[in-house]
Amino acid sequence: MRRIPTCDRLSAMIKVEGLTKTYGGFTAVDDVDFVCQPGTVTGFLGPNGAGKTTTMRIMVGLTPATRGQVTIGGLHYKDIPNPGRHVGVLLDASAQHAGRTGREVLTLGARTMGLPDSRVDEMLALVSLDEKESRRRVRNYSLGMRQRLGIAHALLGDPSVLILDEPANGLDPAGIRWMRGLLKGYAERGGTVLLSSHLLHEVEIIADEMILIGRGKIVAQGDKKSLIAGAGTAATFVTALDNEGLAAGLKDKGIAVSAAGEGLRVETETVEVGRVAADRGIVLIDLRPAEGGLEDLFLSLTADTQRDAVTEGAQA
């Protein structure tokens, strides 16, 4: 048990290199490269069908790659002995035998990995499935309970890497907060987490690094700040005692303003809005960067892969 130094040769725990997967003429994953560092949570973000799941399935050897490779700790997944002890995997919480109890699912995993059955109770407690629930059949589990069970299964072998596909799917808000805390703590202990989602807000709170994928291609990657900076356009939400006065002041400077709820949406940075307000002696009661920045970026980067066209007014 030791802390992993972040800058040695292990600095990339998961390494995806030139990964391509084609089905006939369809390219599901197109020359994808990225790395995941120990001690970080990496969010793998993209609309449905963008290639997230295929990439993760290739990582653990369930789908063969057409070209390229994935290594975990320098090894191909199939070369990791007793891989459950090193890499925790949750690809589909529903991929469990409906007729088994939650406890039995974990017992099978623990026995396969050669762990004592006491580990099953530890994991059930960790994911807050009580004794009674653990003896129910998975058929009678809600999606949220299945996710908890799947996370418990992934953590059984005390792995140093976690690969989770849509783990927040079906969790209630309290469950999502719980999982966020769990994964943050896991990463702080030096673990490597790769989790996918099609929901931006799920990922942006928890992920240190984000990888945006659309139509099988990586369209952007980096931390939240650099992604927003890369997006260029900043916007501000502001509410003043005198909204009309503020809007007039901003328009004088050639800055676009539109009404948004109680206040205004201004297409510039917060500091510019504050300056105009100060110049005109207008009292502000709310001033903040528009949260939609990253979302706009996400939607625009993946726009050509969306099933629903992003309309002009969607961002207002």
């Binding site: 048990m1 891989p83 026995r111």
Partner: protein
């Protein structure tokens, strides 16, 4: 609990030097557990014993009521029917339940060597088939003893090593053919339907073909695995019977096993 598990200072790096591969015996034990830990699996195992017992009870009843003279072999042959139907289903389901319930995703991520996992499944299914045959033999012994007690007739055993071996072979073949069909189709319903067509419809077609076409009559013993197993049922296989068994078995057991294994090794696990 949460703080205890998460409070550990740091996770180990990915250092596999201290980890050994999963021993094969452990895989077999887990696969055996999987066959009995669901209602479907447990009831299939229970029904193999229960239906066999039921068949023997009915046979005993008829024998006693009509005052027939039978021996141990008759009881053994009687339980071929339930075993011959249910053991192949066991073989099919040991593979297809992983696919229909999608647990193969979990199994293959814990043991990426699919060959080892398939082998572990085969061995565990084989062990259950052997246990089922032993239970069947014990039930037949009980039936024969009851027959003697109820009718007062002499109890005839006539049990030879070849007969017992034939008996085990017969049911191992049945189970293994089911297992191969399961891998071939990776779908419970398709596997069972095709197995029953192979097992109940095909022999009739082969018979028909043999009676209509002269050249087919010469070919039929070499390609009809069901017919080739009949000497096993009777427990009196001769030299040419074994040759027929080997050649037709190559076609209906070994070939599907090879193609099925190839399919499982290559299949994308969804």
């Amino acid at each position: 609990m949460t703080s205890q598990t998460l409070g550990q200072p740091a996770l180990p790096a990915l250092d596999v030097s201290g980890t050994s591969a999963i021993p094969f015996s452990r895989l077999v034990r887990v696969e055996l557990r999987k066959m009995a830990d669901t209602r479907a699996g447990r009831w299939l195992l229970i029904s193999i014993a229960a239906v066999t017992a039921l068949v023997l009870v009915i046979q005993l009843w008829v024998v006693v009521a009509q005052d027939l003279v039978v021996n141990f072999t008759d009881f053994m042959i009687a339980m071929n029917t339930p075993m011959g139907i249910l053991l192949p289903v066991l073989g099919i389901m040991s593979i297809t339940s992983e696919w229909s319930q999608r647990t193969a995703m979990v199994s293959f991520s814990l043991e990426p060597s699919r060959m080892r996992l398939v082998a572990a499944k085969f061995v565990s299914t084989l062990l259950i088939a052997l246990a089922a045959v032993v239970v069947g033999l014990v039930l037949a012994v009980v039936a024969n003893l009851l027959y003697g007690a109820l009718t007062g007739n002499t109890v005839v055993w006539g049990l030879t090593a070849v007969r017992v071996l034939s008996y085990f072979l017969l049911h191992v073949f049945g189970m293994a053919t089911g297992f191969a069909f399961g891998m071939l189709f990776l779908n419970t319903a398709a596997g069972i339907v095709v197995y029953f067509v192979y097992s109940f419809v095909l022999p009739g077609l082969f018979q028909l073909g043999a009676s209509l076409l002269g050249w087919f009559a010469d070919l039929q013993p070499w390609i009809d695995f069901n017919a080739a197993q009949n000497p096993l049922v009777q427990g009196d296989a001769s030299g040419s019977d074994w040759a027929h068994l080997a050649v037709s078995g190559l076609l209906w057991l070994v070939l599907p096993l090879v193609v099925g294994t190839w399919r499982v090794l290559r299949a994308e696990v969804k």
